[in-house]
Amino acid sequence: MRCATARKRLSDALGGALRPGRKPGVEAHLKVCESCRSYRDGLARIQAGAALPDAHPPEFWAAFERGLERKLAAAEAGRATVVPALAVRRRFAWAAAAAMVLAGAGIWYGLFRPQTAVTEAWVPYEDVLAPLVQAAEADPELAAIVDREVRAAIDEIDPAPDADSVALSAADPLFWEGLTDNELKDILTELEDEARRGGPL
């Protein structure tokens, strides 16, 4: 066995980590190698002399424990105050996020909502529909088809109010009672104008 190997195993032996099967080889080497015997003795002296003396009196440990207790209490108090602060910050963050989402949805709706005004919806089709409407005037059957399709398109773009609300306003017995003389006069004028133009559509 080489001295380097023997010395590594001597260190393992001092640490209680030498495999039992290796012990005979180390002992055999030590019998014939004075240098390694000297090395082993030196290691043993260092090991014995390295022990840290526990020279602290009980008062030392009592003071140590009091100091530690103060630090633990301070850490616990700090933790107790930090948790609600974190919770408040978290709630604020959720509220801010919700406000941002609502604002975004509002902006989107304002910019991109479906345009339901009938007059605006007709504009892109005006040039295409004009010849068709002219042809329909000369052909009653075509006129009926066009009329049906146009009304269906209008209903789709701008649905009529539900039947209940129409019936309710028409049946309001107090509607005419609430009008002033001037308002009645204006309505009469409009009806006369319409009659001169050929009546309501």
């Binding site: 010395r7 590594k8 209680g16 030196g42 260092i46 390295a50 140590f64």
Partner: protein, 191 residues
């Protein structure tokens, strides 16, 4: 004296029991202080360091799952806290390059030859302490765990998170360095 088993104290401490943790600290304070003293090199810093170890452990006890024993976990915190402390202090950086052929104390305290045996032994203990303090930090940590704390190489490896063989080689290197530095004083005691 509190005779509750350590597992019970750990469980109570995990649930926030400060009194249970204080009892755990009382049981382990000497060991932790020993590691801190070996790493810091003086009692004052060791006190602060040991309290920092327990404070860190108290803050982290909720995450301790019992995968290792409590003392292994505590030693690991002690080692990590010590290494961080040494980095902060910059002692390792400031220390002069190690020369294993230079006898310990040669540049500082003189070594008086021919003292009586008892005086020579306490002189040797002081030289050993100086030489251990001058070891590279990873060798010193291994030395603190194996020699000071009496951990097996396997247990020290669990604390350090390295293979057992690594601990064996670090201990061998550390002993070789100490032997080289302390040879004159060992021979003096022997004679």
């Amino acid at each position: 004296m509190d005779e509750r088993p350590e597992e019970l104290l750990v469980e109570e401490a995990r649930k926030g029991g400060r009194e249970a943790f204080a009892e755990l600290a009382r049981r382990h304070e000497r060991r932790v202080h020993g590691v801190a003293l070996r790493m810091a090199g003086n009692v004052s810093d060791a006190d602060d360091l040991a309290q920092e170890v327990f404070l860190t452990a108290w803050k982290a006890i909720g995450s301790f799952r019992g995968g290792s024993s409590f003392y292994t976990w505590l030693y690991r915190i002690a080692v990590n806290t010590s290494l961080t402390f040494l980095k902060k202090r910059g002692r390792e950086k400031d220390r002069a390059p190690f020369d294993e052929n230079l006898p310990a104390g040669a540049a500082g305290r003189g070594f008086s030859r021919g003292p009586e045996a008892g005086a020579a032994m306490s002189e040797l203990a002081a030289r050993i302490a100086e030489a251990v303090a001058a070891l590279p930090v990873h060798f010193r940590v291994a030395f603190a765990l194996v020699v000071d704390q009496g951990l097996s190489h396997a247990a020290a490896a669990r604390v350090l998170g390295c293979p057992e063989n690594t601990v064996s080689w670090r201990m061998h290197k550390a002993r070789k360095i100490l032997q080289a530095r302390l040879k004159p004083y060992i021979e003096e005691v022997r004679s």
